[in-house]
């Protein structure tokens, strides 16, 4: 890992957020004493993000890729499905966002039980990782699997109504966070590296896996009953910001709980299936340490500096100023927050390397920004005008599925992978806090994370269509030059 280069890149991606918050501080939303916390948080974010990314590069990514390729070459379906399920299941418990979200959902819907909910999400993810792996191995059409998956989702959502729908989509966005994504992504790459037809199946595993939790939560809500609409509890989701040491201890504990199953899985795999040689294994161990320290610093920065500031911004803007100002701020935040999401970086780097540098990191990030920016603004609009969430789901996902007929299949895979990736810890705490502050109730703010997850499905496939057209033109020019 080139730490200096990573540091520079992450610094550039976090500066816009800092500048925007500073501008707000001196104009519309004076933050007072919270400003210092925010600035310390930003520094932690930069340090944590670069350390995490560098660590992932030399630990989760090589392990995941090797695992995928070993799975394929062992030629045992039970092994593939068994491992896929165990990893999907374990990774859900590793994501700190999932338990936070589960307890929030249960607070709104008393019929649900937080442990059962997390368990269901884990089972859902495990099963759909199996489906995704099977597809990648078999080389089945990604579009077909996605269409069938989302048709089931649509049917379920018609049945359960918008509150469950928003929770279900949020759960899916939260599950595919910074710990799960690098591993799952690399596993998909590994499988496709070892089978014929590389580009076609390199992406899409994360996208298919994201469907699992949606269906799981939908089913659970149907069985348990209750739509949660009656409750008027006012529970603020963000963990009450304590002193710095309290926050870091809290994050450390949560991350350790999440990290240990992942660590155990990697160690067991090393001694049974993977058997990396000495120096590589040593580097992987270092990488795991770096990514652990990195994600702890990152999450501490987010919890300590960003959540409170988010609530303040959302609250002040919606109470004092006309609605359009909140809308503009949401557009801006949506666009710049994605740049600082850890999983987004991992994905875009993978895209660059799989496409041998043809598809640049910057292009993908730009189109993701466009999408998320629109998503956050739409979510605020929905809070303001109380629009039915199902319109967004059917419209958004429906459009994405239609676009998949026109976009190159590589981009369809990338787009559906990006969905879960765009909604990481920064959007679940910072943007969500803005939404909670603006809406005044946690209930209406559900759905924001889900919307963020839906938007890249559309914008990245549009990028794909543009890319396809351009590439055809270049090919034609090359032909002419040859003859």
């Amino acid at each position: 890992m080139d730490f200096a280069a990573k540091l520079k890149e992450t610094l550039v991606s976090i500066v816009p957020i800092v500048i925007t918050v500073l501008i707000l501080n001196f104009t519309a939303v004076p933050l007072g004493s919270h400003l210092t916390g925010f600035l310390i948080g930003s520094l932690l974010l930069v340090a944590g993000l670069s350390l995490f990314l560098g660590g992932v590069d030399i630990s989760m990514v090589p392990v995941g890729e090797k695992l995928g390729s070993v799975m394929a070459s062992r030629k045992s379906l039970p092994l593939v499905l068994g491992l896929g399920f165990v990893i999907g299941f374990g990774v859900t418990f590793a994501e700190p966002d999932v338990s936070v979200l589960a307890s929030r959902i249960c607070a709104v819907n008393p019929n649900m039980n937080s442990t059962t909910l997390t368990f269901m999400i884990a089972v859902g993810l495990g099963l759909f990782i199996d489906i995704g792996l099977f597809r990648a191995l078999k080389g089945l059409s990604l579009r077909l699997v996605l269409i069938i998956g989302y048709l089931v989702v649509f049917a379920l959502m018609l049945f359960t109504g918008q509150n469950t729908a928003s929770m279900a989509f949020d759960s899916s966005g939260a599950t595919t966070g910074p710990l799960a994504v690098p591993f799952v992504l690399a596993m998909g790459l590994g499988v496709s590296n070892s089978t014929r037809g590389k580009e076609k199946s390199a992406f899409g595993l994360t996208g298919i896996a994201s469907i699992g939790p949606i269906i799981a939560v939908g089913l659970l809500a149907t069985v348990m009953g209750g739509n949660g609409s009656a409750s008027n509890q006012t529970i603020v989701a963000t963990s009450a910001a304590g002193t710095f040491s309290q926050v870091i201890l809290h994050v450390l504990k949560n991350t350790l709980v999440g990290f240990s199953p992942l660590l155990a899985v990697i160690l067991i795999l090393q001694f049974t299936l993977l058997k990396f040689p000495r120096i590589r294994f040593r580097n992987i161990c270092f990488g795991l340490v770096y990514s652990f320290v990195g994600i702890v610093l990152f999450l501490t920065g987010v919890e300590y500096g960003f959540s409170e500031v988010g609530v303040m911004i959302g609250k002040t803007l919606s109470e004092i100023y006309p609605f359009y100002l909140l809308l503009i701020v949401s557009l801006v935040f949506g666009a710049i927050v994605v740049l600082a999401e850890p999983a987004v970086w991992v994905l875009t780097e993978q895209i660059e390397s799989v496409s041998a540098g043809r598809i640049k990191k910057k292009q993908v990030m730009f189109f993701m920004c466009l999408g998320v920016s629109a998503a956050v603004a739409l979510a605020m609009l929905r809070i303001q005008a109380s629009i039915n969430y199902l319109y967004f789901v059917f419209g958004g996902v429906g459009l994405a599925l239609i676009l998949s007929f026109f976009s190159p299949s590589l981009f369809t895979g990338i787009a559906f992978d990006s969905g879960g990736v765009a909604s990481g810890p920064l959007s679940t705490s910072f943007l969500l806090s803005v939404a909670i502050g603006a809406s005044g109730s946690p209930e209406m703010s559900f759905g924001l994370v889900g919307l963020i997850a839906i938007s890249p499905l559309i914008t990245l496939q549009i990028l794909g269509i543009i890319f396809g057209v351009k590439e055809k033109k270049t090919a034609r020019r090359m032909e002419n030059a040859d003859s």
Partner: protein, 203 residues
């Protein structure tokens, strides 16, 4: 399809420098260039010990009708401050290779072995190396799983070294524990007609 018999110019460059080098080559008369994303290792021993040695690199291949074109490209690339790395020219003409002072050692092995290969090579005196991700092609009627052909995932390690170090380096790699099994990898050496440092003298 265009078939050329001549020499192959390999450029091991810093990240995202491939496009610049390719356009220089084209200006100097080469038909085109092929860019491959690669990984290099840092020269600092401390960084490598801590597992922080990996760097993104670009590898560019340029086909030339004869080696005289390479001189021009190398001169222009050296003048360009945004480019750093090394250049090696491989010639199909064997006579020219007789008095070459450099060797290109290439190892193609199963994925996951490159760190250990580079470690051994450096212990034996290599100053650097470039790693490219690759995959083998399945043999005819190869292995199938669920009706899909399975191909082995590979890493290719390229090490440029002076002639006198070549024997020690290949020996060290050959003796690696992880390369003792059957079919885990292959190693070959090629004579390099010309070797040049570009830009900041980085190797």
């Amino acid at each position: 399809m265009l078939i050329l018999e001549g020499s192959l110019l390999l450029a091991f460059l810093g990240h995202n420098q491939a496009e610049r080098f390719a356009s220089i080559s084209r200006q100097c008369g080469a038909g085109g260039a092929t860019a491959i994303p690669a990984k290099g290792t840092a020269s600092s021993k401390v960084l490598r010990m801590l597992g922080l040695g990996d760097k993104s690199r670009d590898l560019v291949l340029v086909l030339l009708k004869d080696s005289s074109g390479a001189d021009l490209i190398i001169r222009e690339a050296k003048a360009d401050l945004s480019i750093s790395g090394v250049c090696a020219l491989l010639d199909s003409d064997e006579e020219k290779n007789m008095d070459s002072k450099w060797k290109l050692v290439t190892i193609i092995a199963n994925t996951g072995y490159s760190d250990d290969i580079m470690h051994a090579a450096r212990e034996a005196g290599a100053e650097g190396g470039t790693i490219v991700h690759a995959r083998g092609t399945a043999p005819l009627n190869g292995e199938h799983f669920l009706g899909v052909e399975i191909v082995p995932d590979k890493e290719m390690v390229m090490i440029l070294c002076p002639n006198e170090k070549e024997a020690r380096i290949t020996e060290a790699i050959r003796n690696l524990d992880c390369l003792q099994g059957k079919g885990v990898g292959i190693l070959y050496s090629q004579a390099v007609e010309k070797f040049e440092n570009l830009g900041s003298g980085e190797k």
